[in-house]
Symmetry: C2
């Protein structure tokens, strides 16, 4: 039985990317929007237009503060959108940009983040082709929100899907997890902590392109809101198989780990914005990791676990050798992390 | 010289669709996003993907209240997006949906507007194929904001463009203007007025489809934020020609006119959400109006003016027989009207 508040009013936990977000989508959106193309298990959809095989994705960006070590809402919005297309095996081509500005927003800061957005788009090889700007009254916004839609074409080198995943497949991650989440937390200065953690916000296109030549790549996903643990759950639920992760080999930067220990966060639930989780057929996993190691962004890539015969759950083998269930993200939300 | 406040901080007038919105876009967005496909003179862009001729549009919806006579933010978001594609001569196919919800939002109301969105999409023949939901803290949002992107294909029957417009062309409108603006104003109950005005929020696809068979259709636009006057300015600036409008023949419903007189608004600057302004070669204007008259939505369609030899300005011939310049929308913003 859910609490009264959760069923009658929206809570922050409805936006954390975990169980309640999923329930909200399944309850409110799926029944009325139901159509064969609506795919709530991917961060995008494959559609056909005049015979062209197109991939669409859309995301809202609400990160607070608007500027943080390693990035800002502008570059983050480009990376988040480009990355959703990249992990679906698509080449991003075009972006559309919906801008919601709160009355009183500093124009110079707006100029900086839009310029940053433009640089990130150029670096990723995508063009912003159309946009819209709305202003809401003081107190009715959070300074600046961006909604970005990405249009890409499918790369024929990839044949990805949760249904392709088999027990024995390897779980890979392209680099340390949780950097973005901790960088934003520290930038808020709510905790009186200072740190050297920089967001990993970046286009993952080089990482996904590196896997195009590797056989046996079954599925890719970027572990953003809800972190690695949430992606592991999505893969487990979507494929019907278990996921076994080994804590010891999951790359986490030392300062990220330290901040998490002080504040009581688990880095496995914190957002990364420039990483890829991939499921690769066991015999090709080493080649995939080697392809990533050859890239600056993939130096810390690792095989961090395996797909197991059911039940569909996520088990973490701890550094101490024990095992525990990695639960779905419940409360403890970090609003406006991306 | 602009005032200090306007240049350093965003004001509501930056979002009214008038002069300051245009300056904001030209100043902040165009220089850093500049690319051959970015077209700030249309509410969308034409792009090519794998040889397919695609039209993209995106819009943010922030209307307050979320439900109003004749519609709600959900159906409005579908109509606004579908209509942007329709007036570009495109057939809408797919929508993407970015949802920003404020903590505390009533779930039942959210359920109603999303259901309404689903019905409007089905009625317009478009599928919502992917989406994203974010929750922001209480006090950091206005209940609910939607950003919708539309994907369509160009209809070869149309060859539209501001550059095709010639002096002597007729200016047409498909129905009474300002209904949406007044309906939303009254729904806010700020003015203690009650009225029978219902928003005209609707898909204009039947209206644009009716013009596909008419020769000499040069340009279409839906007069939303900033109203008919703002569209007239966009057409004048974009084509380099003058626009001469005759107040006497511009259809305005009596209760809309009455509310405007009480509150001091000009209905020519108020939003419609189910109307089309079209520029049609003079000799074909009567056929175009006749095609609209045959539709329930087009019963009040009228030829309301002509395109004149420069200068590029908008002149209103008043009901009293005088002439005055119809200025660009400056301040007096109506925030969150769409």
């Amino acid at each position: 039985m859910k609490s009264h508040d959760l069923t009658t009013h929206i809570t922050l936990a409805h936006g954390n990317g975990g169980r309640l977000t999923g329930e909200l989508v399944e309850d409110l959106f799926v029944p009325v929007l139901a159509n064969p193309l609506l795919d709530t298990r991917n961060d995008g959809a494959r559609v056909s237009v005049s015979g062209a095989d197109i991939v669409l994705t859309t995301d809202g960006f609400t990160v607070q503060p608007l500027e943080f070590p390693g990035g800002d809402i502008g570059s983050l919005a480009v990376h988040g959108t480009v990355n959703d297309l990249a992990v679906m095996g698509a080449t991003p081509l075009y972006l559309t940009l919906s801008v919601l500005i709160e009355e009183g927003q500093d124009v110079e800061q707006l100029r900086r983040v839009i310029a940053s957005l433009g640089r990130a788009a150029a670096a990723a090889g995508v063009s912003v082709v159309t946009g819209d700007t709305k202003v809401v009254r003081r107190g009715e916004g959070g300074g600046l929100y961006l909604s970005v839609t990405g249009v890409g074409v499918r790369d024929k080198a990839f044949d990805l899907g949760l249904a392709h995943i088999r027990p024995g497949d390897a779980v890979l991650v392209s680099g340390p997890v949780g950097d973005h989440g901790v960088a934003v937390l520290l930038a808020r200065e709510e905790f009186g902590l200072r740190g050297d953690v920089v967001s990993d916000s970046a286009s993952v296109l080089p990482l996904t392109a590196a896997l195009a030549a590797i056989p046996g790549v079954r599925f890719m996903r970027d572990p953003t809101r809800g972190g690695l643990a949430t992606v592991a759950h999505e893969i487990s639920h979507g494929s019907g198989h278990g996921i076994h992760l080994r804590q010891e080999v999951i790359p986490v930067r030392e300062p990220v780990q330290a901040v998490c220990e002080i504040l009581g966060y688990d880095p496995l639930y914190l957002a990364s914005e420039g990483r890829v989780v991939a499921i690769v057929q066991g015999e090709h996993a080493a080649a995939a990791v080697a392809a990533w190691h050859a890239l600056p962004q993939g130096e810390a890539a690792a095989i961090i676990g395996t797909v197991t015969h059911g039940p569909a759950r996520v088990v973490l083998e701890t550094s101490l050798g024990g095992e525990r269930l990695l639960e779905e993200l419940e409360d403890d939300p970090l609003p406006r992390i991306c």
